[in-house]
């Protein structure tokens, strides 16, 4: 395949779903079948192009054209493809297709399905634009459009009173991070005179250490927002108010993956900025453990999965922090498979039971065998049970962190921190995944709806079953030298004795949860957490902190500014007007005189003028 054809494919990758989205948005009253066909065709088209590109793209290929000139700053529009990019594009296309097909059945009785399907297409297009973008401004377009799509889709469900607030929160928290992202990109443009990624990466030596640190830290703010990293992670669990397929889309292949992907893509900048890497390491270490701990005490099945996403993205950030973008991308790919599977399978459970609360589930494995087995595969992959996908990619991260202690772009302590947190998190992950598995599928049914569970329609089970294949097997790609080279590794995964440490931790987590449940199959293992349970369920009250530190001060300030604007700034204007009016009235009254007084005043004036004139002449003559 020629380079030209490859770059043309790169342009088409976002263009196909974008056009489909545009058609769908213009026809909000299109019949369901048309809307579904459009959505599925858009995602399938993108997937097809991505697969072809994945089979052919080996080195970096690039094409770019002038988009706009602002003064002497050129902005380009182009694609920059490398194997890592097209692999991610395949994951995006596959998850989007699964979500589109699944949604047809999941939203069977929703009268706003047509705009929904179009928005999913737009979301896909935006993510693909981020993936292929050759220019930072162009990347920013995809980046922010994704944000607005998440806003629209999270707020889709009109029956949930919390949905609008969750949607606004998702957009605003990420937008706050994006202030930094925009400033970082702007600084790059100002310092290097270009926004093209290739030229920016080539220009790294021209930047001073201070500039690099500032730029990378600013970019990290945007990454933390999009990828839900501490302290900007608070929007993601609330985003569960969106329909379940949307959760799968946001958590698996788009949005949260974008931040990690962008750091990997711009890693040339980060490698030269140890301060930024150390910051990322701290963020990652906190996020991993915090997300996993919060997942332990959630009552809602989707919120467990949401917190697990926070934690797993923390792993990817950790891999980036210790200097291994390939390990981060490998985990991104396996995570895309198993997290999409988990959400879609959870959607099947919710579809059957009619609630998100695990307290009303139990014993579902008999009525829903397909969902049970696929979910088992997904959870085992999440936990990292060998030989499922998550095992290989997570192990790779733990081993690069271990190796990074001695030599890596990040400080040694940062690598230590990432490693320690990663290993501890493995145990916690084992615990909460086992809890979810047991609470949902085993024991007696705890609610009326759980007594007669049923499998969902075929359109929902087929995508889930298909996603189980990569969830189980994608890890073996780690043994294929060709795949690993193209992803950026120096060679295939090698299994060492150091592997036993995380495996021991997995076993500890799983066995503890099982043992707690075994003592009393009806009760929640989370009760063993005691008073900590509440703290974890509230995720260390960080929402309240955010509210007290940011939201309320801004609202108070806004009220004060409005008052000031109305009473002081405008008040001065109004007072001037009133003052002028009052003065005029005063003067008017002064001139309102009876004839004798008026005549006297005129005469007095004339005399005054005369005196002045005479005096002037006298002085003038004297000079």
């Amino acid at each position: 395949m020629s380079t030209g054809a490859q770059t043309a494919g790169g342009f088409l990758l976002p263009a196909v779903p974008f056009l489909v989205a545009l058609i769908g948005l213009v026809l909000p009253r299109a019949p369901r079948a048309v809307a579904a066909a459009l959505g599925i065709a858009g995602a399938a088209g993108a997937l097809l192009i991505a697969v072809v590109l994945a089979a052919t793209v080996n080195g970096p290929v690039e094409a770019s054209r002038r988009w706009a000139d602002l003064g002497d700053l050129p902005v380009t529009f182009g694609v920059r493809l490398d194997p890592a990019a097209v692999f991610v594009a395949v994951a995006v296309g596959a998850v989007a297709l699964a979500v589109q097909v699944y949604s047809v059945a999941y939203l069977a009785d929703d009268d706003r399905y047509a705009p929904y399907a179009a928005q999913v297409s737009l979301f896909t297009a935006a993510m693909l634009l981020v993936v292929v973008a050759g220019d930072l401004i162009q990347l920013l377009v995809g980046w922010e459009v994704m944000g607005i799509c998440s806003y629209l889709l999270i707020g889709h469900d009109r029956r949930l009173p919390e949905a609008p607030a969750a949607a606004v929160k998702a957009f605003l928290v990420t937008r706050v991070g994006d202030v930094g992202f925009l400033l970082g990109i702007a600084l790059l443009g100002v310092k290097l005179g270009t926004f093209r990624i290739t030229e920016v990466l080539a220009g790294v030596p021209r930047l001073s250490a201070g500039e690099l640190t500032a730029i990378t830290l600013l970019l990290l703010a945007g990454v933390a927002g999009k990828s839900a990293q501490f302290p900007l992670h608070t929007w993601l669990p609330d985003a569960m108010a969106g329909p379940t397929p949307i959760s799968a889309l946001i958590h698996a292949a788009t949005m949260v993956a974008a931040g990690v992907y962008v750091v990997a893509r711009l890693f040339g900048l980060f490698r030269a900025a140890p301060v930024a890497l150390a910051t990322l390491a701290v963020m990652a270490a906190i996020t991993m453990l915090l997300g996993a701990l919060a997942a332990c005490a959630q009552a809602d099945i989707k919120r467990v999965l949401a917190w697990s996403t926070v934690s797993q993205i923390g792993y990817m950030s950790g891999a980036l922090a210790v200097g291994s973008p390939p390990a981060a991308l490998f985990h991104l790919l396996t995570h895309a498979a198993f997290k999409a599977l988990l959400f879609l399978a959870a959607g099947a459970v919710i579809h059957s039971v009619g609630t998100n609360t695990m307290a009303a589930m139990g014993g579902l494995r008999r009525g829903m065998p397909v969902t049970f087995w696929t979910m088992t595969v997904g959870l085992a992959a999440l936990v990292g049970v060998p030989p499922l996908a998550g095992f290989w990619s997570k192990d790779e991260i733990i081993s690069v962190a271990w190796a990074g202690r001695a030599d890596g772009p990040a400080p040694d302590w940062a690598a230590w921190l990432v490693w320690l947190s990663a290993v501890l998190t493995v145990a916690v992950t084992g615990w909460y995944a086992t809890r979810l598995w047991l609470r949902t599928f085993f024991g007696p049914p705890r609610g009326p709806a759980a007594e007669h569970p049923h499998e969902p329609p075929r359109a929902m089970t087929v995508p889930v079953v298909l996603l189980a294949v990569p969830s189980a097997l994608l890890g073996f790609a780690g043994l294929a030298p060709g795949f690993m080279h193209r992803l950026g590794f120096s060679g295939p995964v090698h299994l060492t004795a150091a592997l036993f440490v995380p495996l021991l931790f997995v076993a500890a987590g799983v066995v503890t949860a099982w043992w707690l449940w075994r003592r009393d199959p009806g009760t929640d293992p989370a009760r063993a957490l005691g008073p900590a349970r509440r703290v974890l369920a509230e995720a260390f009250y960080l929402d309240a902190v955010q509210d007290a530190l940011v939201v309320r001060p801004v609202v108070t300030l806004a009220r004060a500014v409005r008052r000031t604007d109305e009473t002081v700034v405008d008040g001065a204007v109004e007072a001037t007007g009133r003052g002028a009016g009052g003065l005029g009235a005063l003067l008017g009254r002064a001139h309102h005189a009876a004839l004798p007084r008026a005549a006297t005043a005129v005469l007095a004036g004339a005399v005054l003028f005369g005196v002045v004139a005479v005096a002037a002449i006298a002085f003038g003559g004297a000079r």
Partner: protein, 493 residues
């Protein structure tokens, strides 16, 4: 007279003739008068589009008009009737002609209380003459004359067809901006008497003006244009005027009338007194950023729909003024596309706000709600316009705001750039709050007419399309002005 000159004259003569025709029609033929006015507006728009075709502009001066008309006007005072368009003014000329056409067309369908739509159309056309004249004038005195023509018809539009508080708002508008005009008059007088010419082409670059005169002139001019733009803290006429004006009045006010201020600042203020501009730039930049943040915060605490959009204009014009204040080519380009984007998007927002207020009979946010249940199409368009207005990349509003920040960074104003970027996040906050209150949640009251009328779609459609097209193809505007801005940046430097 060649065809370009004829078109220049046509853009002023057609609306003037249309205004007379519309006003002269007797009251019982009100609709015929509105049609006549709309036809004139359409012809003006066609003429403005035809202006686009031009050869390579001649001359080496800082302003190289595509088309130029230079006739003696008052020989005794050496005043000339000197018109022209170039890349800086052309996009604004086209935008003015388009918005006036859309407003006249809208008036065919709906006339606000107390009726007499033909007079409203006539006034809109007179305003168009003034605004187009401002953008086309290449003589400083002529510029001032056109600048003043706009004032009284706009006063009448607000005072006759406005909301409940219309008289007070109209009086405030006219007195406040008249105060600005006085300063402009003095500024023009200073420049013309010191330099001995009123020709803008000759004046641009500050030739012949001593430094002291430039500082004085720029202060006066900048204050005058700051009132019009408006720049914080000289903005308080705007929320009242926008809120009380009828829908078409708000659209013209926000869409193009404010641009007279930013255009004047760039072309006359910066162009004629570059030394003064360099001296005052940091203050201007700081005030612009203050406008962005204060506008955003006020919006966040605002409870009335049209007032909120009016205050959001203060913030958006802050970005435009920030771009101009940087005195860089990047900043000027950002300001120009920001001007156009704001005209398109805020014009659309005011159309939508008017439609909502007409249907719900209230503009108070707490009393609105559930619009996506009662009028999904209207809610969808409002969402689109709000998203465009908050500067989403890919839509028109992004370019001006993002590159104003870039230009500020380039100028070395790191602090201002950071605060301005935070202002962009504030814009997201208040627009999403607006959408949440107006479109989400349960429907609070039934709407008078949930569906969109064909006339509404026709008059909003072009703006909807432009907001997307300018976002995807910003070069459509930027390429027009690239040379002109480069020439200006060279003389300012």
């Amino acid at each position: 007279m060649n065809s370009g000159q004829a078109l220049l004259v046509a853009t002023l003569a057609l609306p003037a003739v249309g205004a007379f025709a519309a006003a002269a029609v007797p009251a019982r033929l009100d609709r015929a008068g509105r049609i006549a006015g709309t036809v004139a507006a359409a012809l003006t728009f066609v003429a403005s589009l035809l202006l686009l075709s031009h050869g390579t502009p001649g001359g080496t001066g800082p302003i190289r008009p595509w088309h130029e008309l230079n006739q003696p006007w008052v020989p005794g005072l050496a005043l000339r009737f000197h018109l022209g368009v170039d890349g800086v003014s052309y996009p604004l000329v086209a935008l003015t002609a388009l918005l006036t056409l859309l407003c006249c067309g809208y008036t065919l369908w709906k006339v606000p209380e107390p009726g007499r739509g033909r007079l409203l159309v006539a006034l809109l056309l007179v305003i168009e003459v003034g605004i187009l004249g401002v953008f086309e004038a290449l003589d400083l005195v002529l510029f001032f004359v056109f600048f003043e023509i706009v004032l009284l018809p706009m006063y009448a539009v607000i005072a006759v067809w406005g909301g409940e508080e219309r008289r007070r708002a109209a009086r405030k508008f006219v007195l406040y901006t008249l105060f600005g005009s006085v300063l402009l008059l003095v500024g023009v007088f200073v420049v013309v008497s010191k330099a001995g010419t009123a020709d803008l082409i000759a004046l641009t670059g500050g030739a012949g003006l001593p430094r002291g005169a430039q500082l004085f002139a720029f202060t006066l001019l900048a204050l005058a244009f700051a009132v019009k733009s408006p720049l914080w803290p000289l903005h308080t006429w705007l929320p009242d005027a926008h809120t009380e004006a009828p829908t078409v009045g708000s659209v013209i006010l926000a869409g193009v009338l404010l641009k007279m201020g930013t255009y004047g600042l760039l072309r006359v203020g910066v162009g004629v007194a570059p030394e003064g501009a360099r001296w005052a730039a940091p203050v201007l930049g700081a005030l612009a950023v203050a406008a962005i943040v204060i506008g955003g915060l006020v919006c966040l605490a605002q409870t009335e729909l049209k007032r909120l959009i009016a205050y959001s204009s203060v913030g958006h014009m802050g970005f435009v003024l920030l771009g101009i204040a940087t005195l860089t080519a990047t900043g000027a380009q950002a300001a120009l596309i920001g001007n156009i984007a704001h005209g398109v998007i805020t014009g659309l927002l005011f159309f939508l706000a008017g439609a909502i207020k007409d249907r719900a009979h209230t503009g108070l946010l707490p009393e609105l709600g559930g619009l996506r249940e009662t009028a999904p199409a209207l809610a969808g368009l409002l969402g689109y316009a709000a998203i465009a207005s908050l500067g989403l990349p890919g839509l028109a509003g992004f370019w001006g705001e993002a590159f104003a920040v870039v230009a500020a960074l380039r100028r070395g104003w790191t602090g201002l750039a950071v605060v301005a970027a935070l202002g962009a996040a504030l814009a997201a906050a208040y627009f999403l709050r607006l959408l949440r209150q107006v479109t989400h949640g349960p429907a609070l009251k039934p709407l008078a007419q949930p569906r969109l009328a064909g006339a509404e779609l026709l008059s909003w459609g072009p703006l909807v399309v432009l907001a997307l097209v300018l976002g995807l193809v910003p070069a459509a505007v930027l390429n027009l002005s690239a040379d002109a801005v480069r020439a200006l940046a060279e003389v300012v430097r």
